[in-house]
Symmetry: C2
Subunit: 499 residues, 2 copies
């Protein structure tokens, strides 16, 4: 059993007495720090290089602009009311702080439909099932059927652990029959679970069930390979129920921004961070020139690949940690279509199609069901695949997404209207998706940044075990605020680590 949930209350005692905290970055971590510090009587300044807040918590809708490091700025052209989440698009039901802030800030949520048995598996150019779009339910049920059949046979032939009784074995076999949909002879045959070739209906229409795929065909088409593993629903973070903010995930950032707006300086790019004997001095540039800002303490939420290029007088250990911790390469493309053909023609409502090609996956929108138009995420890839596609120009990314996507959805040709792609590792002020730790960097580098470097604290998803998740930003912000506030109220000269 899980322990009772920790209280969401964040009732710190004592007063910040107007101490000036300079926060670098108006993403979720930075704004949450300001929001909580303001409640405690601090005076905060948030320096944000962009002309928007939210950082990676960013929904692309008409007029959104992006700047990749080797490309001109681009502006999204989508229909009003349509959007896709370029950054986080899912909230696990156990990410309490994320849901807590949604509630506290009045951001309504709706189900993000991460599990959809009606989406497809598509093995491009591999095996007997090559280039066929196959409903997830067919493969799930076929594999489950064959595996339970094999195991039931093995138990029948005495393959049960010797600690188990004969009666246990019989019960397990009965379970396997139900689990796999096996028949009375413990054989896997076609069942309605995997769907129909003709739907059942009224009158004389009982429906028609197709023959299962052969196990060898599934195996040799790579549909039991890691590309198609059930990570999309087995991982703790990806298990249903999942949520999203109604109207785009950036509604969370916007709600936070409303709370801290007077503290935010937009268009302010940090160029140096200097610890002084007493306090900090931050240099930044904006449209009007270069400025210096002094504060009592600083909370730096800049992504590490960005921070790595900012002048500073950090200790050697801190500088090394900033350079050594790596970030994922990842990208998404939003494709607007003038018709929700995935719903109208193919009955796919939300969820994910998986493929072994460089698209990796297609995300169907979990909002505006039965609506007219829609934006789907045409690829969402990582690492080598993201590097390869991220290296392309915007037009070539679109071309790639359409060429591969139409193998699965030929309707792309007729219905496509426009795209917008984001390659996070190439995006100015991000330069990466999220922190990825090896066992080694988690052990050696991570703890270094949990401690402040004199008057500078570090915060963000990268300083948590919730990398990539908005919950990481919120948890880190709270931990950092608590540590900073303890130091201030206890009048300590020492620098306790962030808990």
């Amino acid at each position: 059993m899980l322990k009772p949930a920790p209280a969401h209350a964040f009732n710190l005692e004592g007063d910040g007495k107007g101490k000036h905290i300079i926060i670098l970055g108006a993403g979720l971590a930075g704004m949450t720090c300001a929001y909580e510090l303001n409640k405690l009587g601090y005076q905060c300044t948030i320096l944000e290089a962009r002309h928007r807040t939210g950082g990676r918590c960013w929904s692309i809708r008409n007029g959104a602009t992006n700047q990749e490091i080797d490309k001109p700025a681009v502006i999204a052209k989508f229909d009003d009311g349509l959007y896709f989440n370029a950054g986080p698009s899912r909230i696990p039901h156990h990410h309490e702080l994320t849901l807590h802030y949604c509630k506290e800030l009045g951001v309504p949520i709706q189900v993000y439909n991460n599990v959809n048995e009606g989406a497809y598996y598509f093995a491009e150019g591999k095996g007997p099932l090559s280039n066929k779009k196959i409903r997830v339910r067919e493969i799930h049920n076929d594999i489950r059927g064959y595996m339970t059949e094999m195991l039931a046979k093995s138990i029948d032939h005495g393959g049960l652990d010797s600690a188990m009784t004969k009666e246990d074995g019989e019960k397990i076999i009965a379970y396997l029959q139900a689990e796999g949909g096996l028949d009375i002879d413990k054989l896997y045959k076609a069942s309605a679970r995997r769907g129909y070739t003709e739907s059942p209906g009224a009158g004389d229409r009982p429906g028609k069930i197709a023959e299962p795929h052969k196990l060898a065909d599934i195996l040799h088409s790579g549909l039991m390979d890691p590309d198609f593993y059930n990570v999309a629903e087995y991982t703790y973070e990806l298990q249903m129920t999942m949520f999203q903010a109604v109207g785009g995930m950036d509604q969370i950032a916007r709600a936070l921004e409303k709370k801290v707006a007077p503290s935010v300086k937009m268009g302010a790019e940090v160029t140096s961070i200097n610890n002084l004997a007493e306090g900090v001095k931050i240099t930044y540039k904006d449209a009007t020139g270069v400025h210096e800002l002094s504060g009592d303490m600083c909370i730096c939420t800049l992504p590490l690949p960005v921070l790595s290029n900012v002048n500073n007088n950090f200790s050697g250990d801190v500088s090394r940690a900033i350079d050594y911790i790596s970030y994922i390469q990842t990208g998404k493309i939003g494709l607007q279509f003038k018709r929700r053909f995935w719903e109208e023609d193919e009955h796919i409502y939300g969820g994910i199609t998986h493929t072994n090609n460089d698209l990796t996956q297609i995300f169907y929108p979990s909002y505006d069901y039965l609506g007219k138009k829609g934006i789907l995420i045409g690829y969402y890839n990582f690492n080598e695949k993201a590097q390869k596609i991220g290296a392309l120009g915007y037009a070539d990314r679109e071309k790639f997404a359409l060429e591969k996507g139409r193998l699965i959805h030929p309707q792309y040709d007729k219905e496509f209207e426009g795209s917008f792609s984001v390659s996070w590792h190439k995006t100015k002020y991000n330069l990466g998706g999220w922190a990825v730790y090896s066992t080694e960097t988690r052990k050696t580098q991570y703890p270094v940044l949990l401690k402040p470097d004199k008057h500078v604290y570090f915060a963000g998803e990268h300083l948590t075990y919730l990398n990539a998740w908005m919950a990481g930003a919120f948890e880190s912000a709270r931990s950092t605020v608590a540590a900073l506030h303890a130091r201030v109220t206890e009048g300590r000269a020492s620098y306790p680590a962030v808990k």
Copy 2:
């Protein structure tokens, strides 16, 4: 691969020329018949015994009234804005006609969160895990782990089908390792998939994973018994994506009612159905007395246990079919709580808790997430369990739901505000949940009612292979309208069966 979806267009040609069709019952089937017949130029009268439309498509909100056959009428007292669906509460994503009518009638839909790994399994009074609430994810992942471990071991020891190569075996073992979360030695150990005893967070909080339950404990506690089988997500109809109408499933009925309102006579209880040489004569009684109504044809959508008690001059075969086709016994109770403790304390957002006791299951609401109050469905049971609980008075049903429910959610004691229960087999004008066919009755009785008895057609979920589903009502309505209209426009004296 599934065949392309049939078109939703229902473009029948020809004109009904004002022929008068008397429709018995203003449930979804009856109203859909009227709606489609009106489009074709027929004149329809719907006789509805109740003072509301919708039949089983019924959301219980403040002021709802019900009449069970052995009890006084009762009125629901719930807070405004709260409701539960006493009848159908889920729309499978492949029930095209249901979604089609939602779209055509302008009824917005939202995800019904049928799959929730965060809900519980609760084995009352059985085995080592007796009376513990265990997250579904723990049991799912433990069983998956142990079963894949057993199978991997068996394959290692040469237990693979001889048609498979050694390389195939290695690939299957790699699959099983990923599927079950096995370690490098192919053993199932604890993994994050089954959740944490301490959640991961920021700083020095990596989270703590608990030890898995022992397979023998799971087995001996009955958690591999049919009570806990994965029917809630494996069945074709229950696979995600599932939907519900926003604001209550009865919004579908209300939207249909708006279209056919002039045709509906409320409070009109049918007492006899008579085929005449030309047309039909229906007798009904209402508050003002007994009335006769003549029409060219009739579509009878009354549930068969109700129709069985209506005077008629049907053929012997038809009368026999009406009497022989059986209906399920089923009931639900809605419990209003002043706090959504299942969300706030236990992070359960929608989905279903399963138990082996007479509650059978608890449904958490899939709307108003993060809201203040909520109604959950305290039991939803069938057959013997529904018969036993349905036999109780309203107060005793509530007492039962609270006594058993508080074993799982002790918060019941403090937070409960009020209940409303519906036992469908005891509800006047229903007398059953939905048609349940045996192989025998499907073969012998079902086809009889697909043909009209002279001028009387039969329609409803009971005349489909989609029993219990709203889609059955819609599919049957369309099939019946098509058959009736073909007869009229072709001037046929013969009675083709409903297709």
